[in-house]
């Protein structure tokens, strides 16, 4: 991915969920995203970080920016080396959950962001969310 890495955070404890969502909000604010988008991103990061802890025990969260003079562009990638998602199509449907949760995680998160990419195989899962806004 072009652009620069703003933050690279480990996701290994429940405290890291709080930190990741807080850092995501700060970076989004610094780039110039409004309060609604900051909250969408922070909430999405919180959901994804919790998934990492729940299914893979640990992973990482990387925040990239490749903004241009006309657009603010923020991307957040969550990676882990857990068992992977056996059926991504099913996991992206509302109500699906294998983790004993409420199954709002991935489809709910997708609705908060502009772009949601997921790749998963046993031993590696990567979710990238993006938010792109024209500068005012």
């Amino acid at each position: 991915m072009n652009g620069s890495i703003l933050q690279h955070l480990a996701v290994t404890t429940a405290t890291d969920i709080v930190r990741a969502r807080s850092v995501a909000r700060q970076e989004a604010a610094r780039i110039g995203f409004g309060l609604a988008d900051q909250t969408r991103l922070a909430t999405a990061v919180s959901e994804l970080a919790r998934n990492v802890l729940k299914y893979a025990t640990e992973g990482s969260c990387t925040i990239h920016e490749d903004s241009t003079p006309v657009e603010m562009r923020l991307h957040i990638t969550m990676e882990d080396h857990g068992p992977g998602i056996p059926d991504i199509t099913a996991a992206m449907k509302d109500g699906y959950s294998t983790g004993g949760g409420m199954g709002a995680g991935l489809p709910g998160t997708r609705r908060l962001v502009d772009k949601f990419e997921i790749e998963s195989s046993p031993g590696f899962t990567r979710v990238t969310i993006s938010m792109v806004r024209k500068r005012q």
């Binding site: 709080v18 807080s22 909000r25 609604a36 969408r40 909430t43 919180s46 409420m102 709910g108």
Partner: protein
């Protein structure tokens, strides 16, 4: 990080001032239902003005806490849901189901007073009700 629970007559006041970890949220839930039981509080007001993120987990903890409180016999009102928190929760397909929400703590106390009085139990008559 403990969330302080303040007793005001027959009502408990809680203001969540910091972003809670999952463990702290569950601790809060347990502390609150224990306090409700000990004090036989008739109502609980939970203010979440300071929460700038409520994800699906926290939303579930709040919903569950309200259900537990009602099972014990207390009315629950949530105040101070931030507009962007409401936006994100609804977009995600989550909401604070079956929990009464109001703008601020003052309205929360008024609403509790009315709903406790309306129950008509434990001397909860609106005119003679003791705070």
């Amino acid at each position: 990080m403990k969330v302080p629970i303040i007793r005001l007559g027959k009502v408990l006041l809680v203001s969540i001032q910091v972003d809670l970890t999952d463990a702290a949220a569950l601790q809060f839930q347990e502390d609150l239902i224990n306090r409700i039981s000990e004090t036989e509080a008739l109502g609980v007001a939970i203010d979440i003005t300071s929460l700038d993120v409520v994800d699906s987990y926290m939303a579930r903890v709040i919903n569950d806490t309200a259900s537990m409180a009602r099972l014990l016999g207390a009315e629950v009102v949530i105040s101070g849901v931030q507009p962007f928190v409401a936006l994100a929760l609804v977009e995600m397909g989550r909401e604070l189901i079956n929990v009464d929400c109001v703008f601020n703590l003052e309205q929360a106390l008024k609403k509790l007073e009315v709903s406790i009085a309306a129950r008509g139990d434990r001397g909860g008559n609106r005119d003679t009700y003791e705070w």
